[in-house]
């Protein structure tokens, strides 16, 4: 199955370079994680503080959107090159999801 793979050992300089790059990417991931924790904390605190629903609901939804974006683009690597088709699939799912939720909250009543 992997007959098409051609693997070459990198020389020491190339190896050190890619290790440094990977280490830098990992530090970015930890920063992203810190931002996600921060957003979660603010969202819970805003609800706990009991501000007006008209302020809190859009705020927590916005934070959720940002957090999911960070998760998809950094933790799940969508920000890397060559992920166009994968983004197409997940956005197709998201479009159907949005339409469905919008439909149910607006036209279903019991």
């Amino acid at each position: 199955m992997s007959h098409d793979v051609h693997v070459e050992a990198r020389n020491e300089a190339e190896y050190q370079h890619s290790r440094r790059k990977a280490g830098q990417a990992m530090r970015n991931q930890v920063t992203v994680f810190a931002v996600m924790i921060f957003l979660t904390f603010i969202a819970f605190a805003a609800v706990q503080a009991g501000f007006s629903a008209y302020l809190v609901v859009p705020l927590v939804l916005l934070f959720a959107g940002v957090q999911v974006g960070l998760q998809l683009y950094y933790f799940m690597h969508l920000s890397e090159k060559g992920t166009g088709i994968m983004q197409f699939f997940i956005y197709s799912g998201a479009l159907v999801a949005f339409t469905m939720v919008l439909g149910f909250v607006t036209i279903v009543w019991i």
Partner: protein, 208 residues
């Protein structure tokens, strides 16, 4: 190239999950699956939002008097942290450090089990109060949504544990690297769904 080819950190490709055609297809196919999962969860979210706090007349249960934010907060922190630890596992996978990868996956599993424990505690607590699956339309939609997510956590944990056991003596190669990679994608997706659950179900639920 033989599957059992041994690598060194120097010869290990920078993107081992995409170094073979099979690996590339696996990752791509998995994103199609995740698109479908998004639709599945959207249908459950939509149903929950439509049936929230609805049920038989005179029902005493509502999101406002059921949910407790501290519990949802702890569960969120556990799952969010487990997402980071699986990122660490994939970092070590790309560095061809099998032991470190297994170690981080083990921590991920422990955090996932912690999350699951809290969820079971939460459900049994509600059931003892009389809020069950068949009690109301609200109950059915709540347990279906949050329970389906919990089922995903169970499947994700089983998947990661099986991969760790199956490859314990094998070490890393280009055959199992994509398997570890998509298992971690699945785990991140579980966290993505949970972000919406804690926001839409719990946070928006307790707002009066």
């Amino acid at each position: 190239m033989d599957l059992k080819t041994k690598f060194t950190p120097q010869s290990w490709p920078e993107h081992p999950e995409a170094a073979t055609v099979e690996g590339k297809n696996k990752v791509l196919g998995f994103w199609i699956f995740l698109g479908g999962e998004t639709v599945l969860f959207a249908s459950l979210f939509a149903t929950f939002l439509a049936l929230k706090n609805k049920g038989p007349s005179g029902m005493e249960f509502s999101t406002q008097n059921l949910f407790e934010l501290p519990l949802a907060f702890i569960m969120t922190m556990l799952l969010l942290t487990s997402s980071l630890t699986s990122v660490y596992a994939m970092y070590h996978m790309k560095n061809y450090n099998f032991k470190a990868m297994q170690g981080w996956l083990f921590i991920t599993v422990l955090l996932g089990l912690g999350f699951l424990g809290f969820e079971i505690y939460e459900f049994t607590h509600y059931i003892h109060e009389g809020f069950t699956f068949t009690q109301s339309a609200f109950g059915s939609s709540f347990y279906t949504l949050v329970g389906t997510h919990g089922l995903h956590v169970v499947i994700g944990l089983g998947w990661i544990i099986l991969l760790m056991l199956r490859n314990a003596k094998r070490g890393l190669n280009l055959y199992n690297a994509p398997k570890f990679f998509i298992a971690s994608l699945y785990w991140h997706f579980i966290d993505v769904v949970w972000v919406f659950i804690f926001t839409v179900v719990y946070l928006m639920g307790v707002i009066k």
